[in-house]
């Protein structure tokens, strides 16, 4: 028995079985939720590479699996990543409303989580790129549920992910030559350029980001938010491994500056688009741009930034969950998510629209919501490097706040409707309420979240 069998092969098998039960919506939802929770908890309690007693047996769970001479390793240092990924799955499947969301999301979503972990666990490292191509294929199927036609955004997403994989594979091969031809600047620069291009394709970095808003507009809001939340976190985890363990980045190469420039570019572009966007679905894509930007900025702070990075990820899981759950209910009510269609929505559907506004503002970083203290910590870290950097960061972030004001003005417009509706089933109304309350509490007491993320990054980096 080994950890890759428990956390990779077993859930993969279960998700394949789940594909045969798509007519049993509730069964699928709750089994996906409980499996994710169990896998997340198992990562907390299972001792790796140590003998322990389980019922009548003495077990020793190894941390690696060998397939065709290549190793898949999930060691104790990877346990926080495993916990985070499966608990993310738990939250997403828990808030999934099978009445409004295609239930293939559960088995395919679980497969996505497994593939993210696979990219994280495979040795040699660059093999992870090819698993991202598989992840892109699964995401395409996830975003195109039965009965719908593939949208141009989804096709573009697939193209860019495959191209990104090819660039990373080639860059990794080229990088292996740097060891042999030590000091060859031409090879070093070429591999850095190709690697940068590869990650730019994967992470939808400017100018390869058009599909973010295209998918947001045309595809199901919940599925889009699920894919964006997990996909980009997976790529960032993979990228961190490249930086920390690649062993081929020359000490002369300054990756901090490109990371900061790219992060600010993404954040600034997202901020500008947030002001001018006239569609809630497209706004999901704009939020994703900010997410990518903030993650890149957090990584640019290296060890000091890792706790902030994980806090940004956790906040986005919760707030994007609230945003997308509310959005999928609103889509059923208004038929479309353009600003024109949702005018005055606050007076008709107060709970759902409050979920949308609160989720959005948490992601934008408005106090006293959960995003604010984390983004503040990020800004403080950047000001430690350069004050002007922090100023640009604040200016880039302000677009999101202004975009939110525009959203509020649309929702609060007097549409002349006098009736108030509480749509959605009671469970999901409570989920919206609990998430709203949780995001406010995390904003008031951010120490709790930062303590957790501090310990996550300590374990990840300490080994």
């Amino acid at each position: 028995m080994s950890t890759p069998i428990i956390w990779l092969l077993l859930p993969l098998l279960l998700s394949l079985v789940g594909l045969f039960f798509t007519r049993r919506r509730l069964l699928l939802k709750w089994s996906g939720t409980s499996i994710s929770l169990l896998l997340g908890l198992s990562a907390v309690i299972i001792p790796i590479n140590q003998k322990f007693n389980f019922l009548l047996w003495e077990l020793n769970i190894s941390d690696q699996l060998l397939i065709f001479g290549r190793r898949f390793i999930l060691s104790p240092s990877d346990q926080p990543a495993v916990i985070l990924i499966f608990l993310s799955g738990f939250i997403w499947f828990l808030i999934l409303d099978p009445e409004h969301v295609p239930v293939q999301c559960v088995p395919l979503g679980l497969t996505s989580l497994v593939l993210i972990l696979t990219t994280y666990s495979v040795e040699p490292l660059f093999y992870g790129a090819i698993f991202f191509a598989f992840l892109a294929l699964v995401s395409v199927v996830l975003l195109t549920p039965p009965g719908s036609t593939p949208t141009p955004g989804v096709l573009r997403f697939l193209i860019f992910q495959i191209l990104g994989m090819l660039f990373i594979l080639f860059a990794a091969w080229l990088a292996s030559w740097i060891d042999i031809n030590a000091g060859n600047q031409y090879l070093l620069q070429s591999s850095m350029l190709l690697l940068g291009l590869g990650f730019a394709f994967l992470l939808a970095i400017f100018p390869f980001m058009s599909w973010l808003a295209m998918i947001g507009e045309k595809n199901h809001s919940f599925l889009v938010a699920f894919v964006y939340s997990n996909y980009f976190f997976g790529i960032i985890l993979f990228g961190i491994r490249f930086i920390l363990e690649g062993g081929w980045l020359s000490p002369d190469v300054n990756i901090q500056l490109p990371l900061q420039a790219t992060g600010l570019l993404m954040l600034g572009t997202g901020g500008i688009l947030a002001v001018f966007t006239r569609h809630l679905g497209r706004l999901t894509g704009v939020i994703a741009m900010g997410y990518i930007g903030r993650m890149l900025l957090s990584i640019s702070l290296f060890l000091n930034g890792f706790p902030i990075l994980f806090a940004v990820v956790i906040i986005h899981i919760l707030a994007l969950g609230l945003w997308s759950l509310s959005l999928s209910i609103l889509r059923e009510l208004s038929g479309e998510l353009s600003y024109q269609k949702i005018e005055g929505g606050w007076w008709q559907w107060p709970l759902v629209t409050s979920g949308i506004v609160l989720g959005y503002y948490c992601l934008a970083g408005l106090p006293p919501l959960a995003g604010f203290p984390i983004y503040w910590a990020l800004g403080s870290g950047l000001s430690g490097i350069s004050f002007s950097l922090a100023l640009v960061y604040a200016a880039a972030s302000s677009g999101y706040i202004i975009g939110g004001l525009r959203l509020i003005s649309v929702l609060a417009k007097n549409s002349g409707e006098e009736f108030v509706l509480l749509p959605g089933r009671p469970f999901y109304r409570y989920v919206i309420l609990v998430l709203m309350l949780g995001l406010i509490l995390l904003g008031i007491f951010p120490g709790f979240l930062l303590e957790i993320t501090e310990s996550i990054s300590t374990v990840l980096v300490s080994f």
Partner: protein, 197 residues
């Protein structure tokens, strides 16, 4: 595989890639794709043992078979077979292919600085397929054409990558990816006809 055979295979790949771009019948496109994978197999077998190189051929033909079976199972209306490309469109696409062909040919000596184990013909064939695949992606909005474009790009990459890396797992994974792309293409063709869940 001798140098002259490699040259013939590289030229075959260029003509197949161009024909895939121009031809409108999807069944013909799939047939051309199958021939294209023969060329890929030939060029890869110059770097690898036949036993491993044949994986590329089998995976490519499986991908073609998956697409062909999908066409057989859905109506022509759903396929939207009538891509109305007039004579001018055909000429434009053909001219673009020739431009790609000439550009790639002139860049091959430069590319051999990176693909150090590749022969001139392998680099030429691989880069031609990469270029023509990108052209296919640039010209297409339909999901099936995008999938064909991706398969073309992947096969071009596989020729070049085979000269650099000979790992069994990587070969297997790239083969699974080729078939996976075809399966996703088949799913995208059929998705609108499937029952909502």
């Amino acid at each position: 595989v001798t140098s002259s055979v490699q040259s013939i295979l590289a030229i075959l790949l260029f003509f197949c890639g161009t024909a895939v771009l121009i031809v409108q019948s999807r069944r013909w496109i799939t047939g051309l794709l199958a021939i294209q994978y023969l060329g890929v197999f030939g060029l890869v077998s110059s770097s690898w043992p036949i036993g491993i190189a044949v994986v590329k051929l089998v995976a490519g033909w499986m991908a073609g078979a998956v697409l062909l079976i999908t066409y057989e199972n859905i109506s022509d209306n759903d396929l939207g077979t009538g891509i109305t490309t007039g004579l001018s469109g055909v000429f434009f696409k053909g001219f673009s292919s020739v431009l790609i062909g000439v550009t790639v040919y002139s860049l091959v000596p430069l590319s051999l600085r990176w693909f150090i184990y590749a022969s001139f013909q392998q680099a030429l064939g691989g880069l031609w397929l990469l270029g023509l695949g990108l052209l296919q992606l640039a010209f297409s909005k339909e999901s099936i054409r995008v999938i064909i474009g991706l398969l073309t790009i992947l096969s071009g990459f596989e020729i070049l990558y085979a000269t650099l890396e000979a790992s069994v797992l990587m070969t297997g994974l790239l083969a699974v990816l080729t078939v996976g792309v075809a399966f996703v293409g088949a799913y995208l063709l059929m998705a609108s006809n499937l029952e909502r869940t």
